[in-house]
């Protein structure tokens, strides 16, 4: 407790909420409110309607949602596999090789996503790998971008893991593969589900690399939102954004439920 007088504390808190509410809470609320409106030229939106949502159910926006979910599922699964494998392998390496691996797997965070998109476009538009114009190139881009987060979460979880479990299992004669499968991975399960949730959320919202290389028949939701706002349909764009946020939230919630069930076991 830094401020002891009640009045001063109230003053600090009111300044806090004056900063916090317009900057953080309002944007999300405003998008939700706008998605149910047709017009916003006063303090509050007007022309309450559900048409934007009805249009989504009828139009090709539903395809975009399915596309986004499929891309995010594929990318987060691939990223989790690669990231976990790399993190487990890095643990056994010497400190110097390990630092190289860390740097390699964290590099995609530092490289602009647009450039990741451009590089895949340049590399996979020519033989021997012709992926340009396929859904696979979008999934590959998303995987590259989110693997770093999977790698980093699993590495952090491994550092927190008590080595005694692994040692007792090995000391009792379990083979390394058995230790990994029956001891280490179950202990890591909460972190793994958290990591896949994070990867899924990031992939759902990925726009920069996707803008560079999405084919016309594989258009994820963020691109659709941009297309809507770019042609001036801000309210339809807001409805799509709400769908995007709701889907992400639902998946994160589901994943956190798996997590709590796993910790009880």
């Amino acid at each position: 407790m830094l401020v002891h007088s009640k009045a001063a504390r109230r003053a600090v808190h009111s300044v806090f909420f004056l900063l916090f509410v317009p900057v953080f809470a309002l944007p999300l609320l405003v998008i939700v409110a706008a998605s149910f409106a047709t017009n916003w030229s006063g303090a509050l939106p007007s022309g309450a309607t559900l048409t934007h949502y009805q249009d989504i159910v009828r139009g090709d926006s539903l395809d975009a949602l399915v596309t986004s979910v499929l891309t995010a599922l594929a990318a987060s699964t691939a990223a989790l596999t690669a990231g976990t494998w790399a993190a487990l392998a890095a643990e056994k390496l010497g400190p110097r090789t390990r630092r190289v691996l860390d740097a390699l797997f964290l590099l995609p965070v530092a490289v602009p996503s647009v450039v990741v998109g451009l590089s895949l476009l340049v590399a996979f538009s020519r033989p021997p790998f012709l992926l340009n114009g396929t859904p696979q190139i979008v999934i590959t881009a998303h995987t590259v971008l989110v693997t770093a987060f999977a790698y980093q979460s699993v590495t952090a979880a491994l550092a927190r893991l008590d080595p005694a479990y692994e040692q007792s299992a090995a000391g009792l004669g379990a083979r390394p593969a058995y230790v990994l499968w029956r001891v280490k991975l179950p202990l890591l399960l909460p972190s793994l589900t958290a990591a896949i949730g994070l990867c899924f959320a990031l992939s759902m919202g990925e726009l920069s690399a996707t803008m560079m290389l999405y084919p016309p028949d594989w258009m994820p939701l963020p691109v659709q939102i941009f297309a809507a706002t770019d042609r001036g349909s801000l309210f339809a764009g807001a409805a799509l954004a709400v769908v995007l946020m709701a889907t992400t939230l639902l998946v994160l919630l589901a994943v956190s439920r798996i997590r709590t069930r796993a910790t009880y076991r």
Binding site: F24, W85, L101, V109, V111, L198, F226, L244
Partner: protein, 315 residues
């Protein structure tokens, strides 16, 4: 049981010593995959940037791009906006984190979870929201026209660099707050009480007790946000202003709208150089911050929640 945890025993029980050739072999498959989908494409980008359209290999594409006013403007815009947004996010994040940590109020925990959630959403949503808040037909201007009867409101800054700046400060402030809150949770409340009982005013306690403790995390958070701002694309794209062009935007325009892949690759290489250099700096600062904290206190909880947290890990 405690004795089992010492490193010496760990190696003998674990069988293999770290760094054994088999361990390197196990690391190869993921590295090979990364090389195929990330390093090889990047190498091709660098190679393409040295390949002018009229054949051969030379530095002429760089000379061409560097001579363009649009590139110089984009570079200036990118650096200025990134610096401004980082400064803004640092100040706002520090102020908000100080209140959450040291002037607690009911619901503060829920608030920091809300901030975590914020990180799971894409950045362009902020620009979309700002259009409804401060756009030409948004809430703020609507209030103004309702109150004064004027035809248009006073706010029309969203399509200027200020709009991008506001959106980036909003979006990136949580990235500063997370490591700061982790650092603040390590500050001994006893120290604060002692300083207060010796007559130090709150501002002085913040300056002399809390800030030195949080400085490494602040530096790490700032460096990370600077890199992310340099690379930000969604916010700029959604702003849709012709006169706010940043380096990632220029890469997109050159490649997709103009079809000038060589030019796009040149800008990309320059952008990568800038960001990766800064990111290396961030990693150094962050690991030093984590090391300093670990050195000061030896307890089980110091290993977690270090200042070197990834961009959104654990959101």
């Amino acid at each position: 049981m405690v004795a089992v945890r010492t490193p010496a025993v760990r190696e003998s029980v674990g069988g293999r010593a770290p760094g054994a050739p088999r361990a390197v072999l196990w690391a190869l498959p993921p590295v090979a995959a990364l090389a195929l989908v990330f390093l090889y494409p990047l190498a091709l980008v660098a190679w393409q940037s040295l390949t002018p359209d009229d054949g051969g290999h030379s530095l002429t594409p760089y000379a061409t791009v560097l001579a363009e006013t649009s590139f110089r403007e984009a570079l200036g815009n990118t650096v200025l906006i990134a610096l401004g947004a980082t400064l803004g996010a640092l100040l706002l994040g520090l102020a908000l984190a100080l209140v959450i940590a040291f002037v607690p109020f009911p619901g503060g925990k829920a608030l920091s979870r809300f901030i975590d959630l914020f990180l799971a959403f894409p950045s362009f949503l902020i620009t979309l929201a700002l259009l409804f808040l401060y756009g030409t037909v948004g809430v703020a201007n609507g209030l103004w026209t309702d109150a004064t009867g004027a035809a248009t409101g006073p706010l029309n800054f969203l399509h200027t660099p200020w709009g991008v700046l506001l959106a980036e400060v909003t979006y990136f402030t949580p990235f500063v707050m997370r490591p700061l809150l982790a650092a603040f949770s390590q500050v001994e409340t006893g120290q604060l009480e002692a300083a207060a009982s010796l007559g130090a005013r709150p501002w002085r306690i913040v300056r002399t007790v809390i800030l030195p403790e949080a400085l490494p995390s602040l530096a790490a958070g700032g460096a990370l946000v600077l890199v992310l701002c340099l690379n930000e694309f969604g916010i700029v794209l959604f702003t849709g202003a012709k006169d706010v062009v940043t380096l990632p935007m220029l890469v997109y325009t050159k490649a997709i709208l103009d079809g000038d892949y060589t030019g796009a690759c040149v800008v990309a290489v320059i952008n990568i150089a800038l960001s990766v250099a800064l990111y290396a700096l961030y990693r150094t600062v962050a690991s030093r911050a984590a090391g300093a904290r670990r050195g000061r206190r030896k307890g089980p909880r110091t290993a977690a929640g270090s200042g070197g947290d990834p961009r959104r890990a654990g959101a």
